[in-house]
Each structure stands twice: as structure tokens, then as C-alpha cells.
């Protein structure tokens, strides 16, 4: 092997599958840290790719390595139980004959036995840590049948962590839950995102989850990767065949700089400026994500007064692209080095004389703190 370590880090996957009515052809390097979202419609192959990485699906043609160790090539096949992964299924898939604690211990014991063999020096997760992180301490004695859907999924995530994995794979862990249960679990996933040192592959078709959790975005369509890269760069691409529709927009990271008690607003420092957002209770100085949807951004050629809009920022037009409807166009702008998307009618774009390089002001109608 002549690959140096920096190349060997992360996941290298070259997978080809040809099934009747479905094909997957992927050749990707995924980063060794942070949350990587595999995003696409159902049938785009994202779950199949995840299952191939877990070894649950055996692609006839495939090369797969993780941090330098080969899991699959022409001669090698490492079965699932020998891969140092944690896997969260769409339905929690807890063992009904074991209690919550029994479920957690099932993986923990086997994980300990195996990691002593492969990787003796590191314990990344204790059972206690997983229980604490997912807030399931009060459920340990119950049987899975006595849990709510959200609780079950939290146990499923804790069980995957208790194995002490070096790579966490999550297959739409929220898709089977209703909105309220999703809101119940998302904060735990965000804690995971902040806490975990291990890379996470997160399959999702929800732009909202991706915006909140992902650092890297891989967009899949019809079994192919159509775009991949850092979250915001990828979200701001105009050439994507994905139809995010109403969800087109970018995600900015910032720091809570100031709280305005009187008007219940927070000022978030990002893009060399401050954005006012509704007070979500986030602590001063905490890192937050702000989602700015293209439909909430309008463009003016001068800073306007007498408007209800709180956030007005100088920006520079980068490029213009077509949108789903022929009347609309998506404009990609740069605000202090950060890309932002705006959706306006093509007529407005024409009247404002928008061309790449033009200096304008953007008005952000609404921002959502994620």
C-alpha cells in the first residue's frame, strides 16, 4: 500500500450494484470527522450505500476502506460484526426479549470483547456516558414494548454508541417518528454532534435535519452522487438537480453575541456582522446555526430605511441560476465570504440589473436559529 495516512483517513467507498430496477455507482471519499449527511429522495440509493458500508449489503463490485483498514475489495470481505461501527436503524429495532439495559449491554459486552482485540487503548464511550447523553436513565428496566417511539429510538442510538464504535451510521433515525417525537430527539442528536469524536454518516431526506446536523453534505440521486462537499458550499450550489423547492437556502454558523431582553431577540455574530434572530434561549457565546432560506432573502440596490426587516447586509452577486419555476431565479451572493441564496422573480433580477460582481444589499426577512 503506497497510500499515505492523510489519504487513508476517512471512508473510501467505491461501490457498484446492479439490481433489476436499481443501480448504485458511487466513488466517494468521506471525511474522517464530523457529521456527513447522505441526502436524497427515497430510492436515490443513500440507504443502500450506508448498508454497504455497514456490510449489511454485499455489493458484488466494491472497494471499501475506513481509516486505512480495508473492509472490502476483490479478496477481502469483513463481515458486519467485525466492522467497528455503530448502526441506528430507521425503526429502533430493539430486541423485544431484552430490557432496555439488556439491549444496551448486548452491544457493549461484545464491543468490549472485540475492541480489546483490535484497539486496546481506547474506550470512547462508556455505557454510562451513552445513557446520560440520550437521557434514558429512567427507562433501563423497561421492555422495549413499554417505550414510546421516541424513547425507543433514543435507546437505539444509545445502544449503537455503547458498542464503542469508531464510525456511527444512522439510517434516517427520525423518519419513522411524528413531528413532536422528532423535536424530542433532535436536541440529543445535536449533543451527539458536539460531543462525538467519531465520524457520523447520517442518511436523511429531510433538509431540516441536514441543516441542523450536517457538516458535510453528499447529495444522491438515482444511485449516483450528484454533489458533495462542506455543507454550506454544497447547499449554495445553483447547479444541483435536487429540487429543494421551498427549502432552498443556506446555513450559517455564528456565535451568540448579545441578548436584547426587551424585544426577545438575540444578535448572532456571523459574516462580520450581526444578525438579529428570535431569542431561542441559547446562551451568550454559544455556537449556533442559522438557516436562511432563499425565499426569505430579498435584494435592494441601496440600504433601505422604513422597512420592517431587521437584517440588512451588504453583499456581492456571484451568479444567477434558474429555479424550479420559469418566473423565478436563484441568485447566489457572497456576504463576507459566506454564500447566501436569494430567490426572486426573473423580472426583478432584470430590473435591478443583477450581474456577477455587482454590489447590492440583501434583506433577510426571517432567520431561524436551528
Amino acid at each position: 500500500m503506497d497510500t499515505n495516512t492523510s489519504i487513508a483517513q476517512g471512508i473510501h467507498a467505491r461501490i457498484r450494484i446492479d439490481w433489476p430496477g436499481f443501480s448504485l455507482d458511487v466513488d466517494e471519499c468521506l471525511p474522517p470527522r464530523g457529521v456527513t449527511a447522505l441526502f436524497g429522495h427515497s430510492g436515490s440509493g443513500k440507504t443502500t450505500l450506508l448498508r454497504c458500508i455497514a456490510g449489511l449489503e454485499h455489493a458484488a463490485e466494491g472497494q471499501l476502506s475506513f481509516n486505512g483498514s480495508v473492509w472490502q475489495d476483490a479478496r477481502t470481505w469483513v463481515p458486519t460484526h467485525r466492522r467497528p461501527i455503530g448502526y441506528v436503524f430507521q425503526e429502533a429495532s430493539l430486541f423485544p426479549h431484552l430490557s432496555v439495559l439488556g439491549n444496551l449491554r448486548y452491544g457493549q459486552r461484545r464491543g468490549q470483547r472485540r475492541s480489546k482485540r483490535d484497539d486496546p487503548c481506547r474506550t470512547r464511550f462508556s455505557l454510562e456516558h451513552a445513557i446520560e447523553l440520550l437521557g434514558i436513565g429512567h427507562l433501563l428496566k423497561r421492555k422495549p414494548a413499554a417505550l414510546s417511539g421516541g424513547e425507543r429510538q433514543r435507546v437505539g442510538i444509545a445502544r449503537a454508541l455503547a458498542v464503542n464504535p469508531r464510525l456511527l451510521l444512522m439510517d434516517e433515525p427520525l423518519a419513522a417518528l411524528d413531528l413532536a417525537r422528532k423535536q424530542e430527539i433532535l436536541p440529543y442528536l445535536e449533543r451527539l454532534h458536539d460531543d462525538l469524536e467519531i465520524p457520523v454518516l447520517y442518511v436523511s431526506h429531510s433538509p431540516d435535519e441536514v441543516a441542523r446536523l450536517a457538516d458535510t453534505l453528499v447529495v444522491m440521486d438515482a444511485g449516483r452522487v450528484v454533489a458533495s462537499g462542506p455543507l454550506n458550499e454544497t447547499l449554495a450550489r445553483l447547479d444541483l438537480p435536487i429540487r429543494l423547492g421551498e427549502d432552498a437556502g443556506v446555513v450559517l454558523e455564528g456565535r451568540v453575541a448579545e441578548r436584547d431582553e426587551q424585544w426577545h431577540l438575540l444578535r448572532v455574530a456571523c459574516c462580520n456582522a450581526g444578525l438579529w434572530v428570535r431569542d431561542s434561549g441559547a446562551a451568550i457565546d454559544s455556537h449556533v446555526r442559522i438557516r436562511i432560506l432563499a425565499r426569505d432573502v430579498s435584494i435592494a440596490d441601496a440600504p433601505t430605511s422604513g422597512t420592517s426587516i431587521l437584517n440588512t447586509l451588504p453583499a456581492r452577486v456571484l451568479s444567477l441560476g434558474a429555479d424550479a419555476h420559469p418566473a423565478l431565479s436563484l441568485v447566489k451572493l457572497e456576504v463576507s465570504g459566506q454564500p447566501v441564496l436569494a430567490r426572486l422573480t426573473r423580472r426583478s433580477a432584470e430590473q435591478l440589473g443583477l450581474v456577477p460582481g455587482k454590489e447590492v444589499w440583501i434583506q433577510i426577512k426571517a432567520t431561524a436559529l436551528l
Partner: protein
């Protein structure tokens, strides 16, 4: 109710035969059921059909083939002779072999259905939790299909108790060796000893009813065969 010594001997022999047969079938039937429940091989159909044959075949046909193959000129008979075991027909172990074949579907089918009902997912989950295939079988598949095993065990035991045709073909009617309860009843009837026949027949009737009652009340859903 007063049973003669030979009646009691026949009942005890029957229970022993059914117990041994059920235990052997747990060991033999489980791998077959596991394979049938999970394979995508084109042999699934033929093997499944062979396993189910005793359900429809007259016991005398099954017994006849077993008798021939275990006889002095049959392949099994020559093998057992070469191994120094001697010939199996008209021995207790010959009956056990016959019963294992005769009751095979009663073990395999409920267990196979139970395995199939688990689905792939719990086993996949166990694999991602570092469990090896054997580990997955014993810690996930077996506990989850326990009801199927209970059903299969009860049905196999009861069905072996009710065996007659195969016994008569390959076991004959040797007191204490191959004369089971059903053969004993036949003997009583042949000898026109209807009173004796009644007593033993009533015992078998009540036994069979109680077994099935237990089976059907224990599980709310009907056991599938």
C-alpha cells in the same frame, strides 16, 4: 381405571419413544427449519416438499421404505451392520428412526414459520452490535422464536404418541421393545378385549385433547402447521 402390566409397559414405552424422538428432532429439525426459513436456494422447494411428505403419505408407505432400506439388503441396513450396530427394524431405535421421519414436518414447519416471522432486522441489528452468526442464532433467533419451538415440541411429541402405521411396519409388536400404546389397543381389539381397548383408547383420547387444549389456549393465535 385399572391397566394391566402390559398396558402400563406399552404406555411407558410410548412416552419414552415420544420423548427421545422429540429431543432428536429438536436437534435435527432446527437446522433444517433455519435453512428453509432463510435460504434463497432453488433447493428450498424440493427440500420443503420432502420434509412435508409424511403429512400426506400413508404411514405404511413410509414404513415400507424405511423397512426396506434398514433391512439386511438395504443401504442403511448394510451401513448399520458394517458399523456393528446390527439391524434396526424390530428394535426400539428402529422405531425412533421411523418416528423422526414420521414427525419431521411437525417439528420443522412451526419452527420454520417462527424463524421466518423474526425477519432480517433483529439479526442485522445483532450483527451491527458485534454478534457473530452463531451468537446471533443463540441470543436473538432462538429466544425470539421460542413460542414456535414450544408449539413444535408439543406437536411432535403428541404426533409420535399417536403413531401406528409406521410402528407396525418397522417395529412389529414386541412387548417392551416396540409394542406402543396404539399397537396395544390394536391387539386388544384383535383379541376382542373391548374393555381393555376402551381404557387405553380413552387415555390416549384424553391425553391428545389435553395437549391440544394446552397448545391452543397457551397461544392466542392458532399454531400454524
Amino acid at each position: 381405571m385399572f391397566l394391566t402390566d402390559s398396558d402400563i409397559q406399552a404406555v411407558l414405552l410410548t412416552l419414552r419413544l415420544a420423548t427421545v424422538t422429540t429431543l432428536i428432532l429438536f436437534l435435527v429439525g432446527t437446522p433444517i427449519a433455519w435453512w428453509l426459513a432463510r435460504t434463497r436456494s432453488r433447493w428450498k422447494g424440493p427440500v420443503g416438499a420432502v420434509v412435508a411428505l409424511p403429512l400426506v403419505l400413508p404411514p405404511s408407505v413410509l414404513g415400507f421404505y424405511l423397512l426396506v432400506s434398514m433391512g439386511p439388503n438395504g443401504p442403511v441396513g448394510q451401513l448399520t451392520q458394517a458399523l456393528g450396530i446390527g439391524l434396526l427394524p424390530f428394535t426400539f431405535w428402529g422405531l425412533v428412526v421411523g418416528s423422526v421421519f414420521y414427525s419431521l414436518p411437525f417439528m420443522v414447519q412451526p419452527v420454520q414459520n417462527a424463524f421466518a416471522a423474526i425477519g432480517e432486522r433483529p439479526l442485522e441489528a445483532a450483527a451491527t452490535l458485534r454478534a457473530s452468526p452463531l451468537d446471533r442464532f443463540f441470543t436473538v433467533a432462538l429466544p425470539l422464536s421460542l413460542p414456535g419451538f414450544v408449539t413444535a415440541g408439543i406437536l411432535t411429541f403428541a404426533h409420535t404418541v399417536g403413531e401406528f402405521g409406521v410402528v407396525l411396519m418397522i417395529g412389529g409388536n414386541i412387548p417392551g421393545v416396540t409394542r406402543v400404546a396404539s399397537v396395544q389397543i390394536y391387539d386388544h381389539v384383535e383379541a376382542l378385549a373391548y374393555g381393555d381397548a376402551h381404557r387405553l383408547a380413552a387415555i390416549l383420547l384424553v391425553f391428545s385433547f389435553l395437549v391440544l387444549l394446552a397448545l391452543y389456549s397457551w397461544r392466542p393465535s392458532q399454531p400454524r402447521l
